[in-house]
């Protein structure tokens, strides 16, 4: 059964959790680089400050796209936590990103234009793997609904090891971690200025940051599904996975988009599909 209450809790609490994750991320990253790092709550201070700034735009329509990005990220995440259909969640998630891309296009600025193109390449790089993850979960639990998957006592990750590794790979893209932070990055050394977010300032940039926090929580929730049979293990898995992402972020240098696309597809094709094919074979063809 879908429960809107959890969706509502997500809408209210996810920014806090997401902001904290971002704070921890910055702290650990700083320690890995031998710095002290900012306070844990620094992301909140940053966003708070953004909302106090003047709203500079190239075109007024940017306001609309930034707002739509945030709103549909909320829709996707709330639908996920309310226990909705996983495929619909993924499509709403894509929709919200399309708005970010459109916002970047709208300004007709060279830097954000390249960022938009790269963001699109990232979308086509990660989306197949995310859909295959949802398909894998269906094959194990016979349901696309998050509410059914999460109460399943089957250790999903044991049936979907390849899919899980593939998902971690695209998670790196999704969290905008090096080596796949092509379109925009949290690092100072972004090669195309700030990519998709170049032309967003002040409150609009603040909205995009908050949308990122919502996105963090949604993606970590997705990891949870793989381990839903046991909550302690799931929380541990999320922590380990995120630490791994930070480690990868700080040890690899940025790659070209060609490599990003090819490697994401090859991993999705090899690990994901072979995993699903084996599962399909073992379950005797999954006849209706």
């Amino acid at each position: 059964m879908m429960s809107p209450v959890y969706g509502l809790i997500y809408i209210l609490l996810a920014p806090i959790a997401g902001g904290l994750v971002a704070g921890i991320d910055r702290k650990i990253t700083a320690r890995m680089q031998g710095r002290v790092g900012p306070p844990l709550l620094q992301p909140f201070y940053d966003v708070g400050k953004l909302f106090e700034k003047e709203n500079l735009v190239v075109t007024r329509s940017q306001d609309l796209y930034a707002l739509c990005y945030l709103v549909f990220m909320l829709v996707a995440g709330a639908l996920f936590f309310a226990g909705g259909d996983l495929l619909l969640v993924i499509f709403a998630f894509t929709l919200s990103h399309i708005f970010l891309v459109l916002g970047a296009y709208a300004s007709s600025s060279p830097y954000s234009f390249i960022g938009a193109e790269r963001e699109l390449i990232q979308i086509i790089a990660y989306e197949p793997m995310i859909i295959l993850s949802a398909v894998g979960m269906y094959m194990v639990t016979a349901s696309f609904f998050v509410s059914d998957i999460v109460v399943s006592s089957i250790p999903i990750v044991l049936y979907l090891p390849g899919v899980f590794i593939g998902f971690l790979m695209v998670l790196t893209i999704k969290l905008r971690k090096s080596p796949f932070d092509l379109s925009t990055s949290h690092h100072a050394h972004q090669e195309i200025v700030k990519g998709v977010t170049t032309e967003f300032t002040g409150p609009n940039l603040g909205k995009i940051e908050i949308a990122h926090w919502y996105e963090y929580v949604f993606l970590l929730g997705f990891i949870f599904l793989f381990f839903a049979f046991s909550i302690p293990i799931a929380l541990l898995a999320i922590a380990v996975a995120y630490l791994l992402e930070i480690l990868i972020d700080n040890t690899f240098s940025r790659v070209k988009w060609q490599f990003t696309l090819k490697s994401a597809w090859i991993i999705a094709g090899m690990l994901g599909l072979i995993n699903l094919a084996v599962l399909y074979y073992l379950s005797g063809g999954l006849q209706p």
């Binding site: 003047e54 709203n55 500079l56 735009v57 190239v58 075109t59 007024r60 329509s61 306001d63 609309l64 707002l67 739509c68 709103v71 549909f72 829709v75 909705g84 259909d85 619909l88 499509f91 709403a92 894509t94 929709l95 399309i98 891309v101 459109l102 970047a104 296009y105 709208a106 300004s107 007709s108 600025s109 060279p110 830097y111 234009f113 938009a116 193109e117 699109l120 390449i121 979308i123 086509i124 989306e127 197949p128 859909i131 295959l132 398909v135 269906y138 094959m139 696309f144 170049t198 032309e199 060609q258 696309l261 597809w265 599909l273 699903l276 094919a277 399909y280 063809g285 999954l286 209706p288």
Partner: protein, 634 residues
């Protein structure tokens, strides 16, 4: 019964009227009135047969068969004459083979045929009729204004508008005939007329390019016609009384017997629906005036191809041949979408997207479980509306800015805001949640998982679906980018054009809201009557999608909210000295314009390479299907 006869005969009569009158005003009046009447008749048809299920009709007119034979022979003679005149010997050979088969059927095999039910109607025919009768006629009305501008802008092309509208209405009549005919001989007759109509319309401009492309289309469709004739011959040899020539009778005769004709007809469908390896004719067909492309891609021609395959989906279901046909469709979907990434010509992008989506429909029909047939019919409906809207938008833009290149559409939202918004609606309708095509792709994924070997198709959909996101989004991005070089252009659109675009854009959105109704009242009863079980979308998901659509529609109003001072600044130019109209000081002190161009990723998604792969795969798979089929016959 009378509605059916009216819908087949009336457009044909109008066609001859339009051929006779060369006066522009008369033509305008006739086309508009006829379009209105056909649309009205379609709606009456919908109301009359809404809940009646399958109804079979006898036609109390015995001479119909003779008239059809005479017309068929006349058409064959006409094509033969043109083929010899233009030295297209492949077309000549194909038409000779086909005519010989036809004479064999009519003069020898079909002598004892006692066909009782020539016409029929069921929910699927009704859906197809609605598509032809509403979208097809809207395109006709649009074509009036379009062709006028077309001939002003291309004075070198001979004004043969009477032939143009003649063919368009013949096309509509043939489509109605095709979807209402139960007798395969009749279907075959209308099938050949659509081939002829597309041939003449593609070659309308009479340039060497358009003539070549018209013959390409003709040759490929004649090849399909030969397979169609083969299916009829097979059926007549099996039962000379012709009791199996009726689609309904054939479908109920059992899979073992019906499979051979079903595969042959599917081959004919594949050529008509322009799946790989036959996709090149539909791409070439874009030389025709844009309303022709809109007709071919949305409501006629290619839809006839998928119609016949979906009809025979229950026979194909679960067979090796069906799986192979499904794979042809699946690979066409994947490769067609990928090729669209590398195209900058808007019509070519649309063409490849059509090819891809038809591939998906055939993939659904080839695998043919009840859920997939349901998804396939949804795809047919959504695709027809959104694609016709997009073609007509591109045509309008092309007349206004003189280019159909997507790169030239930069800043369209400023230059032609109304058309740009409608184009955005059309594009969103093709790939975004919660619009139609995405709904269909989603239900297709859910349906394929449960089908045999469905994992292959799920993978194809996962990758192909993401690829479509890329080329549609970058097109959208080009339209909405607020380019400082451009300013609003004068609004010189004719009211007909605008009206048609508004209606289609409205339909694209409306259909997303009312599709559960269409599904429950037409598609589900049809699937239920064929398979004994049916699929539907869960109530929760429908509500969520309606809410998303609503949210999407109210979001633009946030622009109207009073805001405290958003200040406009020029875009960031990397610290170069730049002016607000996007000129910057380059190296060596030269002032340069900023130009932005999309990625086309030619190395990865180049047309030549992927088309070669598609052709090889398509031919290989079809050959395989033929070998399996021959093995089965022997």
């Amino acid at each position: 019964m009378i509605e059916l006869a009216f819908l087949i005969l009336f457009p044909a009569i109008v066609a001859f009227l339009l051929l006779a009158f060369k006066n522009g005003q008369v033509r305008n009046a006739v086309v508009k009135i006829a379009a209105g009447l056909i649309g009205l008749a379609t709606i009456i048809l919908l109301i009359t047969y809404f809940s009646s299920g399958l109804v079979l009709f006898t036609v109390p007119f015995d001479a119909a068969a003779e008239i059809m034979s005479v017309i068929s022979l006349l058409i064959a003679g006409f094509i033969l004459y043109l083929g010899i005149k233009q030295r297209k010997y492949l077309a000549v050979i194909l038409i000779i083979i086909q005519t010989l088969m036809f004479i064999g059927i009519e003069g020898w095999l079909a002598k004892d045929v006692q066909q009782v039910y020539n016409l029929f109607i069921d929910q699927f025919s009704l859906i197809m009729a609605a598509i032809v009768g509403i979208i097809g006629t809207l395109i006709c009305v649009y074509a009036l204004a379009y062709m006028e501008t077309y001939h002003t802008q291309h004075p070198e092309i001979q004004d043969r508008r009477n032939i143009f509208f003649f063919m368009v209405f013949v096309f509509l009549a043939a489509m109605f005939g095709l979807i209402f005919s139960n007798n395969l001989l009749w279907v075959y007759f209308f099938w050949e007329i659509t081939t002829l109509a597309s041939f003449i319309l593609i070659g309308y401009a009479k340039t060497s390019e358009s003539t070549n492309n018209a013959f390409l289309a003709l040759e490929m469709n004649l090849l399909g016609g030969i397979a169609f004739a083969g299916a009829i011959i097979y059926l007549l040899i099996a039962d000379p009384t012709g009791s199996l020539l009726g689609i309904e009778q054939l479908l109920s005769s059992g899979q073992a017997f019906a499979l051979v004709p079903a595969v042959l007809l599917s081959f004919a469908g594949i050529t008509k629906a322009a799946l790989m390896p036959f996709s090149s004719w539909l791409v070439g067909a874009m030389v025709a005036p844009t309303p022709v492309s809109a007709l071919l891609h949305s409501s006629t021609m290619v839809k006839a191809g998928v119609y016949i395959i979906v009809r025979f989906a229950p026979v194909l279901s679960g067979t090796t041949e069906g799986l192979i046909i499904g794979l042809v469709g699946g690979f066409t979907f994947l490769l067609g979408s990928a090729i669209a990434i590398s195209q900058s010509n808007a019509k070519k992008v649309l063409a490849y997207s059509t090819i891809a989506n038809l591939g998906l429909i055939v993939a659904c029909a080839g695998v043919g479980t009840y859920k997939l047939v349901w998804a396939a019919i949804l795809l047919i409906i959504f695709h027809a509306i959104a694609k016709s809207l997009l073609f007509l938008c591109v045509g309008t833009v092309e007349h206004q800015i003189g280019s159909r290149n997507i790169e030239d559409m930069s800043g369209l939202i400023v230059r032609m805001p109304k058309v740009a918004v409608m184009m955005l609606v059309g594009i969103a309708g093709m790939f975004l949640a919660p619009f139609g095509m995405l709904i269909s792709k989603w239900v297709a994924i859910e349906a394929f998982i449960e089908a045999q070997f469905g994992l292959i198709f799920v993978a194809i959909l996962a990758f192909g679906g993401s690829i479509t996101v890329f080329f549609w989004s970058k097109w959208m991005g080009k339209i909405i980018s607020v380019d400082p070089h451009v300013s609003r252009e004068e609004d010189s659109l004719k009211s007909e054009k605008k009206g048609v675009l508004y209606i289609l854009a409205g339909l694209t959105v409306l259909i997303c809201l009312i599709f559960p109704l269409i599904s429950s009242s037409l598609i589900e009863p049809f699937v239920l009557s064929v398979y004994g079980q049916t699929a539907r979308l869960s109530q929760d998901n429908i509500i969520i999608m309606a809410m998303m659509l609503f949210l999407l529609m109210i979001m633009p109003f946030s622009m109207l909210l009073p805001r405290n001072g958003a200040r406009k600044v020029p875009p960031y130019m990397g610290g170069r000295p730049a002016s607000s109209d996007m000129k910057f000081l380059g190296s060596m002190g030269v002032t340069r314009d900023v130009t932005l161009s999309n990625y086309y990723l030619n190395d990865l998604f180049g047309e030549n390479r992927l088309l070669m792969a598609g052709t090889a795969l398509g031919f290989g798979l079809i050959l395989l299907a033929m070998i399996v089929l021959v093995g089965m016959i022997l």
